[in-house]
Symmetry: C2
Subunit: 205 residues, 2 copies
């Protein structure tokens, strides 16, 4: 069974979608939750599911770089092969990405290349989509490479933007789609069914 | 019955989709085809359907600006209210747009804001989508404002990009969607069912 770690910075609903799907289909072992802060909802979900947590705590680590080094060591030593960024609000350093080449995926709540990159996180993505006036937004799962939100795309799903949408209502509708896509992609990744081909991927569903 | 003019620069399959839908549903009078060149497929389609043609001919008009002035006069004098750019490969000048405010729509073969603006026309749009590695592309109908491909969006439809797609095969699949969307939008426009609301629109289907 492939071991994975999930990185989350907030409530952890994307993380929960992987826990739930895996409870039914057992496509991986969720070895660690890596948490962006010491007290976030995702940690409670990990505890409930019996998953170990590595949390960034300013009082323990000199800085984020030291934390990433620590996390890389722990994950490598425990045999974690894949990393899933599930609402991770911190730029993963190139030195970390190098140690998990083609093995880190991220979910972003827009149809990349629209509304992505530095500055587009959380509600800001949906604010930008509504301000632009698009009729379709959605979600994208992609490999993580040195460019923020710039790695090869694995899966995209479209979601209609309604005239009365607020950033919050649009976020909620896109989250529903994220909770279907993300576990699906993790399952495909662990089964070796995602082949990277340059800037894109071939997914054998 | 609202009078429209359709602008086309090539074979005119988008133009034909409006002719065909209107033959069945009679939502407008297609008063003129405006052709980007004197000999293009769209002109044959106009002739067959009994639609008058205004064609840009370098031997007749001093330049494109003179042609746009001439076209504006003819359309205004014949009571044309709406203009549909259906594969029009020329930037419409601001002076022309001013004379048909909120009355010009365009179809673009991508999910705007992806792969649009200056330099993205014809096959180049699909080449860019494939090179980027997106899993979803599509088509967008939008109002024409001074920014190229930057006007308020009326309708967007997604189309899956397949691993073996070439720019040509992707173009063909997106064209099928265009041929459904474009007549639908023209019908809604002529029926007064598209309300512009700042950067976006409310469409009452």
């Amino acid at each position: 069974m492939k071991k994975i770690a999930v990185f989350a910075s907030g409530g952890g609903t994307d993380f929960q979608s992987i826990i739930d799907a895996n409870a039914k289909e057992q496509f991986c072992t969720i070895e660690y939750l890596v948490a962006g802060k010491p007290q976030i909802g995702a940690i409670e979900r990990a505890t409930k599911a019996g998953i170990k947590t590595l949390a960034f705590d300013k009082n323990v680590f000199a800085d984020k770089a030291a934390f990433y080094d620590y996390v890389a060591d722990v994950l490598k030593n425990s045999g974690v092969e894949y990393i899933v960024l599930a609402g991770w609000l911190s730029v993963v350093p190139a030195s970390f990405i190098k140690q998990f080449e083609n093995a880190i995926i991220n979910i972003h709540p827009s149809l990349i290349p629209a509304f992505c990159g530095m500055g587009y996180y959380g509600l800001k993505v949906h604010e930008a989509a509504i301000a632009y006036g698009v009729k379709l937004s959605g979600a994208t799962v992609h490999f993580v490479e040195a460019d923020v939100d710039g790695g090869a795309i694995i899966m995209q799903r479209a979601v209609a933007v309604e005239p009365d949408d607020t950033p919050e209502t649009l976020q909620q509708r896109i989250l529903k789609v994220e909770h279907e896509m993300l576990p699906k992609c993790v399952k495909l990744l662990c089964a070796g069914k995602i082949e990277k081909r340059g800037r894109t991927t071939v997914v054998k569903e």
